[in-house]
């Protein structure tokens, strides 16, 4: 069987039809109630209602790898560090595991590599010859409190260096002050600056605090043309949680019901285990359906999750519990 017939990792430009956005429509979110205790209850039971075992679990974990935005966003990032990360993105699990799964020809890679703007050239070089997109954070990541002009310029810089996806941060102040026009205009301007590159809007939900804020910010971002909505920078006090994710993907569903557009979702930060990878996929499957288990509509923003997935896959293949020291580090 030829590799081409397999589902391919997401590549830039091979996406779903992009969300064109729409005029700001405050009535789509302002009166929308979100009950926290109910959301928490749903989130808590989602993962106890579903269980994925054995071969199915292996498949789900491989699928999670396809959706990982393998990320390094640290002050001590260097070109060498980025190159090593990219090497892991190209070959996310050890060869003997792929053989055990009979996936040698599958072309398994992570969904993308995510770096700071100045690291984009290094990532592009390291991923040359692959179809793995380079994602860059931008817009004064993580706080975003830079003049808009500079933030837009940063987007253009990253795109110019070859980034296929831009993870922007919204101005939390606009949400906290309910200045929806300002938020809309900002994200719309960023979308324009992205050009062909896809825009992932980071809501920094840990800063927004309330689930109503999360719902409203999700909706405004989508109305302004976001291709993805993303929970966190990874730098807030609280990062991706299931209740927050639940509210965001319900906003995403409501936006889709109203416009017919599909928008992607990316939880980020705090997810470390294979169990988390399963949990978030269950969430997507249950609330949105299988279409949102593909990398063009679903990404997991994580750095250490891959190592745990690799260990679990090794266990599936060998029947023995694995050691990370036998796996290549990112």
């Amino acid at each position: 069987m030829k590799a081409e017939t397999f589902p391919r990792p997401h590549t830039a430009g091979a996406n779903d039809v992009r969300n064109p956005g729409m005029p700001l429509a405050i009535e789509m979110f302002e009166a929308h109630a979100v009950n926290r205790s109910a959301a928490e209850r749903r989130a808590a039971t989602l993962t106890t209602r579903r269980s994925v075992k054995k071969a199915n679990q292996a498949a789900w974990l491989v699928n999670a790898i396809r959706c990982i935005d393998l990320t390094t966003l640290a002050g001590d990032d260097t070109e060498g560090r980025v190159a090593r990360l990219c090497a892991k993105a190209r070959r996310p699990v050890a060869e003997h595991i792929l053989e055990g799964l009979e996936l040698q020809d599958y072309g398994l890679t992570t969904g993308a590599v995510c770096v700071y703007p100045t690291m984009v050239p290094a990532a592009v070089r390291a991923l040359k010859g692959t179809r793995i997109p380079v994602a860059s954070v931008a817009t004064g990541f993580p706080a975003g409190l830079m003049p808009l002009k500079l933030r837009l310029e940063e987007i253009r810089y990253a795109v110019g260096e070859g980034a296929h996806e831009i993870d922007i941060v919204i101005t939390r102040e606009h949400v906290l002050k309910r200045d929806w026009n300002a938020l809309y205009d900002e994200v719309a301007a960023m979308r324009e600056a992205c050009g062909e590159a896809h825009l992932k809007a980071i809501l920094a939900t840990g800063d927004l605090q309330t689930l109503r804020n999360v719902y409203a910010a999700s909706m405004v971002s989508m109305q302004a043309g976001a291709d993805f909505i993303k929970t966190s920078t990874g730098k807030e006090g609280v990062n991706a949680t299931l209740p927050v994710s639940l509210v965001m993907i319900r906003a995403l569903r409501d936006y889709g019901d109203a416009t017919g557009q599909r928008v992607g979702f990316k939880p980020a930060g705090g997810m470390k285990t294979a169990k988390d990878a399963i949990a978030w996929q269950v969430l997507m499957k249950e609330e949105l359906g299988d279409r949102w288990l593909q990398p063009d509509l679903f990404r997991l923003g994580a750095s250490s999750m891959l190592a745990d997935i690799e260990r679990q896959l090794e266990h599936y293949v060998t029947g023995r519990y694995a050691s990370s020291s036998r796996h290549a580090i990112a």
Binding site: S37, R50, L101
Partner: protein
């Protein structure tokens, strides 16, 4: 294609069966059949009349149990009786240690019990594992605490004795815990009958009792069907019957126990409303429906089975609900991915199918969850019935399956009217982000449990139980423990005897005394007005020497009807503040005090008691006004400690309209001592005063009139007490009945109350010393209220 690639393409969950090998081996070990658990040991299995136990998911026979007859029940009651004194004599701390040990052992065997429950009952393993078993352990822990505290927290109370407990098949082990834990904590011993479909976890629990070192005879388990239940209820050695099950059987038990003096609690059926307001989080409410009606296949007495949605959001809600139904998985209960398991028994499945077919013939349209059903076993797809008229069988009958109705309403008032349009009153669920609206509706819904923005939340620390025909009594919390405690019973030297026949013909004797002044006619008092008796007759009230002292109206059933109607119109009284009610009661005392001498004289004339005794009776009545006025704003409910981020309010609510048949003796004090606590708590009363000496009560209506007591709050119908009491006890719109009279009358009242399952309090009319401490107290107030638990989760 490679297997993993195929699975990536499908992204199916696959199967995730719970391992049941250990339970299967246990069943194999008991292949020959189970006996009963009596006096700490299992009896031999009796093949004759034995019952077959099936796994409803497969239809396979998994065990046989013995059918307990009168002999087995008798042996079990004897064992419980023998064990009870020693069990009650243990210190609370020692009983706490036993309950604590049971809780620990239940936890240690939690997985075994969960798997067994799922195999026996058909509920998904997720539920037995994550919901039933944790609640079972929690119940025993909580009641280990009550055992420790019962002496200090309930001073003067004692155990009831031997409790006969009959539990249903929907939560076999959890209902066992709800019954056994409080009974044991309070010092009772029990004879419990598990449901005939699902006895296995109870039998495993019996082993756990042995393992945990529970003294023999404290817990006895007799298996069998309805006949066994009848034998337990009928056994003279049973002091209290606790039943959870259908309203139909509850009625039979009420009739069967009438006049026996057995304490009774009934937790019966429901048709609970699930009210979604336009400002609700609709996704939360949709998920609520899943937990309300598809939890345990809808076989839940408090299932939210009538979904009421405000018109503005009804379309969207229905769309979201229909979408959610698509992801529900109805499958093998042992699979960890199953949302909806098997219906407990083919008989129940057939009942659901028949009710739904009847509903469809009456115009209902069904939305059924798609997806395949298992090929064999008893399964029914999650369903929503639309286009259901209020009179449809689907709107009125408890289906006890995964079928809810969906109806729209316009305004909060409209929604409330639909919510309360039921004979039941077990639970309700209210969805709104507006706390004013949610709490207003919660307060007005007639149900023992109201969940705001949540549903089917349980905790041992809160009371659970119904209003109306959903039964009476509470399980859980402080209010639940009261049901297993007895307060000292007053006993008289001589029981109240039969009353003399009334004569409505003109009397032959002139009124006693010659200084009565202008003749005064005592009428009935209905709706705040004096009313002539419907019959048009009066009867002679005689004094101590048989001489007439006056005439009283000869009330009949139509007067009772009118009085009950008038009482229902006094709606403002229950909603008034305790302070307002207190003011009326103080005013009553003031006005009674102004006429103290006149009332004393009347008592003297009727009963011939001494001047000082009559004066004391009036003075005590005035004191009682003060005491209940004082209590009117102080008999508080509670905030229970249950879940985190949740306020669970236990509110004392009036029963509504209360019938009171007064004792013959203490004509003023008996009347006042019963009516005052009832109205202090916000009830409206239809009282039948002492038949022999009614004039002390009828004199009171002028006092009521001058004391700003709203019309209809107290209604007085004089006449033949037991006939009037019977009409009251039978009245479907009377919520409670207190009867102080003869043993025959007590039996009659309890039997007649079965019609709408009203709460009753019956007692020998001559037993209580109304002049002393027995004549007033918190127990009167407890009888005058029912506890509503309102669950309010919070967090933004």
């Amino acid at each position: 294609m490679n297997k993993i690639v195929k699975l990536i393409e499908s992204m199916d969950y696959g199967v995730a069966p719970e391992d049941s090998a250990i339970v299967t081996a246990w069943l194999k070990k008991h292949e020959a059949g189970f006996g009963h658990f009596i006096d700490g040991a299992f009896t031999a299995h009796v093949r004759q009349d034995r019952l077959e136990i099936i796994n409803p998911a497969t239809g396979a026979t998994i065990a046989h149990i013995s059918e307990g007859g009168e002999a087995e029940v008798d042996a079990a009651v004897k064992a419980a009786r023998a064990a009870q004194p020693r069990w009650a004599a243990l210190s609370g701390h020692q009983r706490a240690r036993h309950l604590y040990a049971i809780a620990r052992h239940v936890q240690q065997h939690a997985r075994f019990l969960a798997v067994l429950e799922t195999i026996d009952n058909g509920k998904p393993i997720r539920e037995s594992r994550d919901i039933d078993l944790p609640l079972v352990a929690r119940h025993f822990y909580h009641h280990a605490g009550w055992a420790e505290l019962v002496d200090s927290e309930f001073p003067g109370a004692s155990p009831v004795g031997v409790c006969g407990q009959i539990i249903p098949w929907n939560f076999p082990l959890l209902m066992l815990a709800w019954k056994i834990a409080p009974a044991l904590a309070a010092g009772n011993t029990v004879v419990l009958k598990p449901a005939e479909y699902t006895p296995l976890t109870a039998l495993a629990f019996a082993d756990i009792c042995r393992e945990a070192g529970l003294p023999k005879g404290v817990v006895n388990i007799v298996t069998g069907d309805g006949r066994t239940g009848v034998a337990i209820v009928a056994h003279p050695g049973i002091d209290k019957v606790a039943f959870t099950g259908s309203t139909e059987v509850g009625r039979i038990i009420r009739s069967q126990t009438a006049g026996t003096g057995k304490k009774l609690t009934l937790e019966l059926g429901g048709k609970s409303p699930f009210v979604v307001f336009a400002d609700a989080d609709l996704d939360a409410a949709v998920e609520g429906v899943v937990d309300a009606i598809w939890f345990n296949q809808g076989q839940v007495c408090c299932a939210g089975s009538r979904i009421l949605v405000q018109e503005g959001v009804a379309e969207r809600f229905k769309e979201l609900l229909a979408r959610r139904m698509k992801t529900l998985r109805t499958d093998s209960p042992l699979d960890k991915n199953t949302d909806v398991g098997a219906i407990v028994h083919p008989v129940q499945l057939q009942r659901i199918q028949e009710l739904v077919a009847l509903g469809e013939s009456q115009g209902a349209t069904l939305i059924r969850a798609g997806g395949p059903l298992p090929k064999s076993g008893s399964f029914y797809p999650p369903s929503i019935a639309c286009d259901v008229e209020p009179a449809s069988v689907l709107a009125t009958e408890e289906i006890f399956g995964p079928v809810a109705t969906l109806t729209t309403f316009r305004t909060p008032e409209d929604g409330l009217a639909l919510a309360n349009n039921t004979r039941y009153g077990l639970a309700a669920s209210v969805w709104s982000e507006n706390i004013n609206l949610a709490l207003d509706v919660a307060a007005k819904i007639k149900a023992g449990v109201v969940w705001i923005n949540s549903t089917n939340v349980f905790d041992a620390g809160a009371g659970f139980g119904g209003y109306r025909e959903s039964g009476f009594g509470r399980e859980g919390g402080r209010e639940g423990l009261w049901e297993y405690l007895a307060t000292p019973k007053p006993t008289g030297r001589r029981k109240e005897g039969a009353l003399p026949a009334l004569s409505a013909a003109p009397g032959e004797t002139a009124p006693a005394g010659t200084d009565l002044g202008i003749d005064r006619t005592a009428k009935l008092y209905v709706g705040g007005k004096q009313a002539r008796p419907d019959s048009g007759y009066v009867y002679a009230v005689t004094g101590p020497k048989g001489r007439a002292v006056g005439l009283a109206g000869l009330g009949n059933r139509k007067d009772i009807r009118n009085a009950v109607e008038a009482a229902h119109k006094a709606t403002g009284w229950g909603a008034a503040t305790g302070h307002n009610r207190a003011q009326v009661l103080y005013y009553l005392a003031e006005n009674l005090s102004a006429r103290e001498a006149e009332f004393a004289e009347r008592l003297r004339a009727m009963s011939g008691e001494s001047k000082s005794s009559a004066a004391r009776e009036v003075a005590t009545a005035i004191g009682r006004c003060f005491w209940y006025a004082a209590q009117a704003d102080k008999f508080d409910g509670a905030v229970h400690q249950t879940k985190s981020a949740n306020v669970t309010l236990a509110m004392n609510e009036p029963l509504g309209v209360l019938g009171i048949a007064c004792p013959t003796a203490a004509p003023l004090l008996g009347f006042v001592s019963l009516v005052l606590p009832a109205i202090a708590m916000g009830n409206a009363v239809v009282a039948v005063p002492s038949q022999v000496h009614p004039l002390a009560a009828t004199d009171l209506y002028q006092v009521f009139d001058t004391s700003d007591l709203p019309g209809g709050v107290v209604n007085i119908v004089t006449g033949e007490r037991d006939a009037l009491a019977k009409t009251l006890a039978e009245h479907d719109d009377v919520a409670g009945m207190w009867y102080f009279g003869t043993a025959d009358g007590a039996r009659m009242v309890e039997a007649a109350s079965a019609g709408n399952l009203k709460q009753t309090w019956v007692e020998d009319g001559a037993a209580r010393d109304w002049s002393g401490a027995e004549g007033q107290g918190r127990q009167f107030l407890r009888r005058a209220v029912q506890v509503k638990n309102i669950w309010v989760p919070y967090g933004e």
